[in-house]
């Protein structure tokens, strides 16, 4: 029985199809979840994909947080459901208070799409256990509001608890504090990442296949939990 991974589509989600493809390539079954339907269809994990949910007109992720499906996801995440928020999904996780801090306008004020090197800082989460700590990945980054900010105490806490999951290396593409590219919650089941691992799963269409590990990590994690 293969793992069932839900991928939420909000109005304005754009990389949902890519998340579905990545899940499939990793060997799991992707299940489409609709923002307005308060049902999780017995999925084993959830991905909040990239895009511009609700146009991101108020504040990125601010409205998506209130979608009916998000209520269930928020509750389930607190009970240990693995959740990965990519780009807009990361923004939604912060708005939903599943992760601390916020993602603000890139410091150079431009949308920026480039192939970015990141270093895995925590390989113990549900989404990064297939990597080694210190491993460098090449992932596309593409956002206008990817500058991670939090208060000093929060940043220190994230550092101290090893909850910074990935940092930018070789240049910070958006001005994120402490070069933060990805963080996790205390339990390690919820991860938010600004770069796009789902766009680095095939040589033909991505800069590398380095992103596939996020999805295979989940399968490893689920097997471990099942055992």
């Amino acid at each position: 029985m293969s793992a069932r991974v839900g991928v939420v589509t909000f109005p304005g989600s754009l990389d949902d199809g890519d998340a579905v493809r990545a899940v499939r390539l990793a060997g799991a079954e992707a299940v489409r979840l609709w923002h307005a339907e308060p049902r999780l269809h017995q999925v084993d994990a959830v991905i909040l994909p990239g895009g511009f949910s609700y146009g991101d007109y108020l504040r990125c992720g601010a409205i998506a947080r209130f979608a009916p499906v998000m209520e269930l996801i928020t509750m389930a995440a607190r009970d240990g459901l693995p959740v990965l928020g990519i780009c807009n999904g990361f923004q939604i996780l912060c708005e939903a208070h599943l992760l601390p801090g916020a993602l603000t306008r890139n410091q150079h004020l431009h949308f920026r799409n480039r192939d970015q090197r990141v270093r895995i800082e925590s390989a113990t989460t549900a989404w990064t256990n297939a990597y080694d700590e210190g491993q460098e990945l090449l992932l596309p980054v593409k956002n206008g509001e990817g500058c991670y900010v939090a208060d000093r105490a929060t940043l220190d806490e994230l550092e101290a608890e090893g909850r910074i999951v990935a940092r930018y290396t070789g240049g910070n593409p958006n001005g994120s504090q402490r070069d933060i590219a990805a963080i996790r919650n205390e339990a390690g089941n919820v991860v938010g990442i600004m770069p796009h691992p789902e766009h680095a799963v095939a040589e033909l269409t991505g800069p590398s296949t380095d992103g596939l590990g996020f999805f295979t990590s989940l399968l490893k994690h689920l097997t471990g939990v099942a055992r």
Partner: protein, 826 residues
């Protein structure tokens, strides 16, 4: 001019007041055109009707000056069994497999983008995307051929960042990868930038949609955004002449884009198509409802009863002629069977798209008679016209044409006679200056602002020669598209210029390994009322039509943009040509940059001393004169077929088109793409300067893997294409070495090539306030710089050196600088 009484101008009133003066001239209609309208209606038009005729008979909608020339495309088009829809549809549709078809088209949004660069460019994207959507296709990619004034002109610093931001802002939010385009600077576009946008869409062959409003009794459904006063450019004159004198000021003439609504509109339409709920569909673009209502009914020969007061309005005080003329974005007009109405409304509701039944399709009163488009406003009839009189029977003019009187002198002033670099050192310096020039330098500053990954099917994107997207994940089927144009060549010879644009786009598609199959165009010219512009236009159309016939690929549709002038002077004639190619398996695509150490470099084609209209002549001498490079379309065809054939059997590891900047530019781009150096040995007896900087057409630089050289050479011999071995890829050397002349380290090349656009368009003090991190002074020690910030390794890498300004800007927000700045907040 008499002022009308309060209230709307109804058909009844128009009949009763035949002599009321109407502001037709202010609306751009000529005396004889106005008389024709009166003849058609057998009375004076109402205000609403006058507004509709003035828009539909405008140059923009009726193609009245270009029609007589554009006919050549249909007449000369080669027969192609791939064409499912062609000229006259919203966009041409080309079959690419048994199951799939693609549609593509390029359109201009030049004037709005000058007035309001961000929104002008953004709505340019929105408009062409709806054209593609209206054909039944899912839009899958965009491209943006852009022209700006001089790179260092202050106004370019206003226009370019806005245009790029608008294209990115809209396209990124729609989730459409931007896979290529052009950024060209020339003083001729000062005050009249060109913002052309191409959109590519994919559809199952059996999902093709039509615009015909067939089936009397069917419902006319308006979906998408509410209608506001935006974009009533054409009728603002009417408004100011007949209504409140201040009303004009309230009307922005540039539309405002809402990409989120468009994204929902796309998803809703695709779901409606899949459920087979749509009889006919038309996007609302220029001329808004007027165009959509008249074209859909004219296409079916039906009529329509429209209750205009049902149209949801942003501004309830709008008059009927304003509702008819509004160019509010993100709207589509659908024709739906009454039994399917509820299902259609449910789909729209699911996507949060407003949908309103505004009328019904009606049958003609008698056989062989056209239907009538009847529009009521709160129960009163304000429009009653034969729809084809608006959509199809507009005026057609054969405008006077004359060769520009200065052309002979211009052509006699050849760049081949200009002073050239004499020594190896001068040649080296010339190379560095030319590759750093605004038209040849690195485009990353622009293209980084566009999402090229979304949808996960982008196989090649800028800076590759063509964009390539996979359209079938099972089979690997893909399509490549390139858009090209060279206004300088076209100024020197519009016939050849159009063919050179076609040849370059064709070659760019071919070097990816794709087989070119279809053409679209966007013809940007000055005023058609200027006989010399009309001559340029006629020559360019003739050149393009002849070129497509010679290459055996049809024009599937396009766009004409007239009245592009800076002051009294017309822009260089700028035909932009898009070519679409098919790749059976995208895994076999050929990249542009060098990939393997030791590959043999071979130059395909012949190099002649052709420097007129070249980048070298412009950069080094500010010179434009002479005649552009010779076009040999048979050679282009041969080149394309050799590349496609050799790519398929693994003879090619890379292939790069030679165009602006010649071999020098091609070598630099191919080296820098992956940071592989090369050693080049120019053939004996050639003039190194000519060999490096000539812009002769029909050439490509290919890299052939070891062990394949002999087979490749034999194939070139057999096919009769000139081939010249010119060197090898040498990873270790780390430079571009032109043996016996000069060498430039890749880092130096990259610094020259990459620094130009950031230097021009990044604000000098890019730091700004950092993302403040409240810091306690006592803890500053802990905040010590993480090792990677120093990036010693990175600093050695040319890519990073190329962006000194960016490095500073990025660093400002990072840990090392924050503590000092944030002390005060602790």
């Amino acid at each position: 001019m008499s002022r009308p009484e309060a209230g709307v101008d109804t058909v009844a009133r128009a009949t009763q007041t035949p002599d009321e003066l109407q502001p037709f001239a202010e609306l751009g209609l000529r005396d004889d055109e106005y008389e024709r309208i009166r003849d058609i209606l057998d009375r004076r038009p109402t205000q609403s009707e006058l507004a509709m005729y003035s828009i539909m008979w405008s140059e923009h909608c009726s193609y009245k000056s270009s029609k007589v020339h554009l006919r050549q495309f249909a007449e000369k088009n080669p027969v192609s069994d791939r064409m499912l829809a062609g000229i006259g549809e919203n966009a041409g549709v080309v079959r690419v497999s048994d199951r799939l078809a693609v549609t593509f088209k390029v359109e201009s949004h030049n004037h709005p983008s000058f007035v309001e660069p961000y929104q002008g460019a953004a709505t340019g994207v929105g408009g062409i995307v709806r054209d593609i959507l209206a054909m039944g296709a899912r839009p899958v990619a965009v491209m943006d051929p852009l022209r700006f004034g001089a790179a260092d002109h202050p106004d370019t610093a206003r226009v370019l960042p806005g245009v790029v931001g608008g294209i990115g802002g809209y396209g990124n939010c729609l989730g459409l990868p931007n896979i290529g385009g052009e950024v060209v600077f020339d003083p001729t576009y000062q005050g009249n930038p060109l913002v052309n946008v191409l959109c590519l869409g994919v559809l199952p062959v059996d999902r093709l949609q039509h615009k015909a409003a067939a089936g009397p009794g069917n419902v006319v459904l308006l979906i998408g955004a509410k209608t506001g006063r935006d974009g009533i450019g054409g009728v603002s004159v009417l408004a100011s002449a007949t209504f409140d004198d201040q009303s004009d000021e309230r009307r922005p003439s540039v539309q405002v884009g809402d990409p989120f609504t468009e994204k929902l509109l796309i998803e809703a339409c695709l779901e409606l198509y899949e459920a087979k709920l749509v009889v006919g569909i038309q996007d609302l673009g220029g001329a808004g409802l007027t165009c959509a209502l008249s074209e859909t009914s004219a296409a079916a020969g039906t009529g329509m009863d429209v209750q205009l007061d049902r149209v949801p309005l942003r501004e309830p005080s709008m008059a009927p002629q304003e509702v008819l003329a509004s160019e509010s974005q993100e709207r589509m007009l659908l024709i739906v069977e009454p039994g399917n109405l509820d299902a259609a409304l449910t789909v729209c509701e699911r996507w949060g798209v407003l949908a309103t039944a505004i009328g019904t399709v009606t049958a003609p009163a008698a056989e062989r008679e056209p239907g009538r488009l009847v529009v009521t406003w709160h129960g009163e009839q304000v429009v009653d016209v034969p729809p084809a009189s608006l959509a199809d029977d507009g005026p057609v003019y054969a405008r006077p044409m004359r060769e520009p009187p200065d052309l002979i002198l211009l052509q006699a002033d050849r760049a081949e006679t200009l002073p050239r670099p004499r020594t190896a050192a001068e040649l080296r310096e010339t190379l560095l200056r030319v590759i750093a020039s605004p038209n040849l330098c690195d485009r990353t500053w622009v293209t980084e602002q566009y999402d090229r990954y979304v949808l996960g099917n982008t196989v090649l994107a800028q800076p590759e020669d063509a964009g390539l997207v996979r359209i079938d994940e099972q089979t690997g089927l893909g399509v490549a598209v390139s858009v090209d144009g060279n206004g300088r060549y076209a100024r020197l010879d519009p016939y050849a210029g159009a063919q050179l644009a076609l040849a370059e786009a064709y070659r760019n598609v071919a070097v990816t390994g794709a087989t070119p199959v279809a053409v679209t165009d966007c013809l940007n010219f000055g005023s058609p009322e200027d006989p010399t512009v009309m001559w340029q236009f006629a020559e360019a159309v003739r050149g393009l039509a002849d070129g497509c016939a010679a290459l055996g690929i049809p024009v599937t549709g396009g766009n004409v943009s007239f009245y592009n002038s800076t002051g009294a002077a017309a822009i260089h004639p700028t035909p932009i040509v898009g070519v679409l190619g098919v790749v059976e398996d995208v895994a076999q695509r050929v990249p542009m940059g060098f990939v393997h150490d030791g590959d043999a470099l071979i130059l395909l084609g012949e190099t002649h001393p052709e420097l007129s209209g070249s980048e070298w002549a412009w950069v080094e001498h500010g010179h434009l004169g002479g005649t552009p490079p010779q076009v040999d379309l048979a050679r282009e065809q041969l080149l394309a077929s050799v590349i496609a054939g050799t790519a398929r059997v693994g003879h090619l590891s890379s292939a790069h088109d030679l165009s602006e900047g010649g071999l020098a530019q091609a070598l630099v781009e191919a080296c820098l793409r992956r940071g592989l150096g090369t050693r080049v040995a120019l053939p004996d007896g050639v003039d190194p300067f000519v060999y490096l900087f000539s812009e002769s057409a029909g050439r490509a630089l290919v890299a052939v893997p070891r062990g394949h050289e002999r087979a490749f050479a034999a194939l070139c011999e057999e096919r009769g294409i000139p081939w010249t071995p010119i060197g090898i890829v040498d990873e270790a050397c780390g430079e571009l070495d032109i043996r016996g002349h000069f060498a430039v380290p890749l880092a130096e090349l990259r610094a020259a090539w990459s620094g130009t656009l950031p230097g021009l368009f990044d604000p000098p003090a890019a730091e700004g306030p950092p993302a403040a991190e409240p810091v306690d002074t006592a803890e500053r020690a802990e905040q010590a710089e993480p090792a990677e910030h120093a990036e010693p390794a990175e600093q050695a890498e040319p890519a990073e050196q190329a962006e000194p300004a960016m490095a500073v800007a990025d660093g400002a927000g990072s840990v090392d600088l924050v503590p000092e700045r944030a002390d005060a907040q602790a």
